[in-house]
C-alpha cells in the first residue's frame, strides 16, 4: 500500500489527473470507496501536509492537491452517501480575518477524507458564537492569519464557557505556528499545525466525545 500512496502523492504533486484516476480505479477493484479514501487519499494528503511542515512541499502544491482530492472524493462519495462521515457536527470559519486560504485548504482536506462539514465563511465573534450554538456544533475549526484575529478566539471560548456549551475549538494558521503557546492561551482545545493534521485531530476528539 505504501508504494501506492507514494505514487498517488507524486501524481498529486505533479497534477497528473490521469494517473490519479488510474490509481483510484486500480484500488477500487479490491476495496470499497471509503477504504480507498482512508488508505490511499488520506495518507497521501498527510504526507503532503507533513512535507509542507518540514518545508519540502510548497503551499501551492498543498492547495492544488487538496482541491483535486476534494473533487475526486466528491465523485466517489457523493454528499448524500451513507459512507460520508457526517459525525461529529462541525464547521470551519475564518474569524475576523479576510484571509480565507487556510480555511479553504482545511475544508478541502477534511472533505477529501470523507468528512462533511459546514463552511461558515468569514465570521465575527458574535455571529460565530450564535451560529455555532444554533447549529449544535460539536467541533468548531477556526483559521486566522492575522495575530489580532487569532487573539479573538479567546472571546469565542469565553462566550462558549459563559453559555455553558461544550463545543471543542480547533485552531490553526500562521500566528499559531510562530507562538506555540498561543492556542492554549486563547483557550483552544487543539492546534492543527497543517491542514492535514486536522484529520487526526478530529478523529481523536471524536474518540474523546464518544468515551
Amino acid at each position: 500500500m505504501e508504494r501506492k500512496v507514494i505514487s498517488f502523492e507524486e501524481a498529486l504533486l505533479s497534477l497528473d489527473h490521469q494517473k490519479l484516476k488510474a490509481l483510484i480505479e486500480q484500488s477500487s477493484q479490491t476495496e470499497t470507496n471509503i477504504h480507498v479514501v482512508e488508505n490511499l487519499i488520506v495518507p497521501a494528503l498527510e504526507r503532503i501536509g507533513n512535507g509542507w511542515e518540514q518545508g519540502d512541499i510548497a503551499l501551492s502544491q498543498v492547495y492544488m492537491s487538496s482541491r483535486i482530492c476534494e473533487e475526486l472524493v466528491d465523485d466517489m462519495l457523493p454528499v448524500q452517501s451513507p459512507e460520508r462521515k457526517n459525525q461529529p457536527k462541525m464547521a470551519i470559519t475564518s474569524l475576523e480575518d479576510y484571509h480565507l486560504m487556510g480555511k479553504r485548504i482545511v475544508y478541502s482536506v477534511l472533505r477529501s477524507s470523507g468528512f462533511e462539514l459546514q463552511d461558515y465563511g468569514r465570521t465575527t465573534v458574535d455571529t460565530l458564537v450564535n451560529k455555532a450554538i444554533d447549529d449544535k456544533l460539536q467541533i468548531l475549526l477556526i483559521s486566522t492569519l492575522m495575530l489580532h484575529s487569532a487573539l479573538r478566539v479567546k472571546e469565542v471560548n469565553h462566550q462558549f464557557l459563559q453559555k455553558q456549551v461544550n463545543i471543542k475549538i480547533v485552531v490553526g494558521g500562521a500566528p499559531f505556528l510562530f507562538d506555540h503557546n498561543l492556542w492554549r492561551e486563547v483557550g483552544a482545545d487543539a492546534l492543527g499545525k497543517s491542514a492535514s493534521a486536522s484529520v487526526g485531530l478530529i478523529s481523536t476528539i471524536m474518540g474523546e466525545l464518544s468515551s
Binding site: 497534477l15 518545508g55 519540502d56 512541499i57 510548497a58 503551499l59 501551492s60 502544491q61 492547495y63 492544488m64 479576510y98 484571509h99 480565507l100 486560504m101 479553504r104 492575522m146 495575530l147 489580532h148 484575529s149 487573539l151 500566528p175 505556528l177 510562530f178 507562538d179 503557546n181 498561543l182 492561551e185
Partner: protein, 348 residues
C-alpha cells in the same frame, strides 16, 4: 573598535561590506507604534504624511535604532490600483475584495501612475520630509511588494495559484504589468530620498513555493526587476522560510535578505557569508509574551549566531513589529543590542 561612534548609515554600510562596524546595526521596523506614540487611531495616523514623519522620528529617538522605515502597510499598493483597504483598531490594515475578479480582467489591466495616486503620494511626501530631517545620518528604507507577491492581494491566493498553474500566458502578462509598477514605485521612493528599497517577496519563500517553482517564477521576476531599481535592495521573506533558495536569492542582485525565526540563524548566516547581509530574525509574534529578560536573552542569542564578521543587521523576522508589542519590550531589545552588540562580539 570598542566605542559606538559611527553614524547609523556608516554602521550599516560597513556591515553590508561584510566587515564589523562598531556595533551590530539594529533595524526596529516599527510602523503602527507611531500611532500609539501620537495617540491616534491606526487609520488616522496613516492618513497623513506628517503623522508618519513625526512617528518615525519619535520612535527612532526612543528606541535608538539605525534606520527610518517609510512602510505604511502592504495594501497601500492595492489602494493605488483602486482596490479596497480595511482598517482595524488594533492591527495592520488588510486588503479587501480583490479587484481582479476574473482572469480576463488581466488583459485590460494597467498599472497606476505612482506619482498621481494620492495614497502613494503620501508615502513619497513622508520620505521626502524624513530625508530633510535625517539627511545622511541613518538609512531611510522604502518598501515595495514584489511583482510576484502582489497578486495575492490583487486577486486572492486561490485564484492566483490557479493562474500560475493553469494560465501561464496571463500569468506572464500580469508579471509584466506588476513589474512596471514595482520599478516605478521603487524608483519614485528613491527619488524622494529613500536610501534603499526593501523588496517584499514572501510568495517566493519556501513556505509558499518550492525551489523548482521559484526558479521558474519569483527568481526570474526578481532578476528582471531588481536591476531596474536605481538603488540598493533588500529582499524580505516576511518570515517565510528561505534556506533552500538562499544561493539563488544571492544571484538576483539583492544585497540583503530578511529571514524567518522558523529557520536556524547560524545556518543561514553560514550560507550567506560574503554574499548577502542577513536581516533578522526575532520572532515578532512570540515577542508579545516576552518580558524584558526574554528580550535580552533573544537578542544575545541572535547576536551570537549571526553577528561575527559583519554582514548582519538585527531586526524582527517579518519586517514589522506587531501592534501588541509593548514599548517596554522594544526598549529592552534596544538596550540589549546596545549592550551586547559591540564589536568584537564577546562570548556571552
Amino acid at each position: 573598535m570598542s566605542q559606538q561612534s559611527m553614524s547609523s548609515l556608516n554602521r550599516v554600510l560597513t556591515t553590508l561590506s561584510h566587515k564589523e562596524p562598531d556595533r551590530v546595526p539594529f533595524f526596529l521596523l516599527v510602523t503602527m507604534h507611531g500611532a500609539k506614540a501620537l495617540g491616534l487611531s491606526i487609520k488616522d495616523y496613516f492618513s497623513s504624511a506628517k503623522n508618519v514623519v513625526e512617528g518615525q522620528i519619535r520612535m527612532q529617538k526612543k528606541f535608538r535604532h539605525d534606520c527610518i522605515y517609510t512602510f505604511f502597510y502592504a495594501p497601500i499598493e492595492i489602494e493605488a490600483w483602486g482596490g479596497e483597504v480595511i482598517y482595524s483598531d488594533n492591527g495592520p490594515p488588510n486588503s479587501g475584495t480583490p479587484f481582479i475578479q476574473s482572469f480576463d480582467d488581466i488583459k485590460t489591466l494597467h498599472p497606476p501612475d505612482v506619482r498621481k495616486a494620492p495614497c502613494l503620494q503620501k508615502v513619497l511626501n513622508a520620505t521626502h520630509m524624513l530625508k530633510g530631517k535625517i539627511g545622511d545620518e541613518a538609512p531611510i528604507i522604502g518598501v515595495v511588494m514584489s511583482p510576484f507577491s502582489l497578486p495575492v492581494m490583487q486577486m486572492g491566493f486561490d485564484r492566483y495559484f490557479l493562474l500560475m498553474h493553469e494560465h501561464p500566458d496571463l500569468f506572464d502578462q500580469l508579471m509584466k504589468i506588476n513589474q512596471e509598477f514595482c520599478v516605478n514605485w521603487a524608483n519614485a521612493q528613491l527619488d524622494a530620498g529613500a536610501t534603499a528599497i526593501c523588496y517584499f517577496d514572501p510568495v517566493s519563500s519556501s513556505t509558499i513555493t518550492t525551489r523548482k517553482l521559484y526558479l521558474n517564477t519569483g527568481y526570474q521576476i526578481a532578476c528582471a526587476t531588481l536591476p531596474r531599481i536605481n538603488g540598493p535592495t533588500a529582499t524580505h521573506m516576511a518570515s517565510g522560510r528561505c534556506i533552500p533558495i538562499l544561493d539563488d536569492i544571492a544571484k538576483t542582485g539583492t544585497g540583503l535578505v530578511g529571514v524567518s525565526s522558523l529557520e536556524p540563524l547560524e545556518k543561514i548566516k553560514s550560507i550567506c557569508k560574503g554574499k548577502l547581509t542577513v536581516v533578522g530574525n526575532l520572532n515578532g509574534i512570540e515577542m508579545r509574551r516576552w518580558d524584558t529578560t526574554d528580550a535580552e536573552i533573544a537578542v544575545k542569542a541572535t547576536i551570537q549566531s549571526a553577528a561575527p564578521g559583519g554582514g548582519f543587521i538585527l531586526s524582527d523576522n517579518h519586517g514589522e513589529i506587531p501592534w501588541e508589542i509593548t514599548d517596554d519590550v522594544l526598549l529592552a531589545i534596544s538596550h540589549a543590542v546596545h549592550q551586547w552588540g559591540t564589536y568584537p562580539i564577546l562570548h556571552m
